[in-house]
């Protein structure tokens, strides 16, 4: 099935970004390596924050980018180190 030419660029971008959220979310759940899983979860947040910008919600995007992909990832990394990397 070919993509019709009438789809606006912004919609295409949103679709690609949402696919990115889905893929990194799935990776975060399925990956065995804890470090990679945490990074994937942060990546999902990063994609989500770009989607928020595309959807004209910059206020939410700022929160998502700094807390979702920055601080949360960091706290998870500290937690992994504290638990010696075990599950």
């Amino acid at each position: 099935m070919s993509i019709p030419m009438s789809i606006p660029v912004i919609t295409l971008l949103t679709i690609v970004l949402c696919a990115g959220i889905l893929i990194s979310g799935l990776l975060a759940v399925t990956l065995d390596n804890m470090l990679s899983a945490v990074i994937s979860a942060g990546l999902a947040s990063l994609f989500a924050s770009v989607v928020y910008v595309v959807l004209a919600a910059p206020d939410v995007a700022m929160t998502e980018a700094s807390i979702g992909s920055g601080l949360t990832t960091m706290i998870f990394l500290y937690a992994i180190r504290k638990t010696q990397g075990g599950d």
Binding site: D59, M62, T63, I67, L71, M74, Y78, R81
Partner: protein, 246 residues
């Protein structure tokens, strides 16, 4: 077995709910009545060009106070859970090897690149956070966003200099003072203006300038400081062993 059936049922229920949401979705072509009111009267009544801020700080100010409280309680919970009672003297020998391992992990120095980049970027990150919450009524962002950016600055600092000391007393004092002042400003709204957290206790000023929109910049400075220091405290708690109450 029953657990599995329960999980399956929950999944099916979620599927039904989300399927209905997805199939019945129609795009709103116009604002709701409340949205109309905010869009029409917000800029005139409150003097804030960023309507999101006007709603978050003033019309829905009580909710924001609730959010700040939630964040405060979670930070306090982290502090409580990660608190470690000091080990007794005779336990020390037993745990010696274990402890050495832990401190070795903690004191591993960061790479040259991270350190140099942090030296360059840290002041800018902090400054950007302050800019975001000071301009909350003019541009996207606000207290929460600015605070989160300041906490990202703290994160940089902890990454580059894992041994750096952050005074818990300073964090506690600034956090408590800003939370207290936030509530005081809210109560002043009841006394001097239309209600709790009304921003018209101060002059609305010229529309679109930095010192305008009444008390909104003031409130956002308090929220920004509180959120920034709270999140920094959470990071600091996760980073290291407890070295005392403050």
């Amino acid at each position: 077995m029953i657990k599995r059936i329960f999980i399956f049922m929950m999944l099916a229920l979620m599927a039904v709910v989300f399927f209905n949401l997805a199939t019945n979705y129609t795009e709103n072509t116009e604002l709701s009545k409340l949205g109309h009111y905010y869009a029409d009267n917000g800029p005139r009544e409150l003097g804030a060009p960023n309507l999101v801020t006007a709603v978050v700080v003033t019309y829905r100010g009580l909710d924001t106070l609730g959010e700040v409280t939630v964040l405060f309680i979670s930070a306090a919970g982290v502090g409580l859970l990660l608190r470690r009672t000091r080990r007794k003297e005779d336990d020390e020998d037993l745990e010696q090897g274990d402890r050495e391992e832990e401190t070795a992990g903690v004191h591993k120095p960061a790479s040259e690149i991270v350190e140099t980049a942090t030296e360059l970027l840290l002041p800018m990150v902090i400054l950007f956070g302050i800019y975001v919450f000071l301009n909350g009524h003019l541009s996207p962002g606000g207290g929460f966003q600015g605070g989160a950016i300041i906490a990202s600055g703290t994160m940089f600092l902890l990454l580059a200099l894992p041994e750096s000391h952050i005074s818990r007393l300073m964090i506690a004092v600034i956090e408590s003072l800003s939370g207290f002042s936030y509530v005081i400003v809210g109560v002043l709204g009841v006394v001097l203006a239309g209600g709790f957290l009304d921003n018209r206790i101060m002059d609305l000023g010229a529309y679109g300038t930095l010192f305008s929109a009444g008390a909104i910049p003031l409130i956002y400075v308090f929220v920004g400081l509180k959120v920034g220091f709270e999140l920094s405290a959470v990071l600091d708690r996760f980073r290291k062993e407890d070295t005392g109450p403050l």
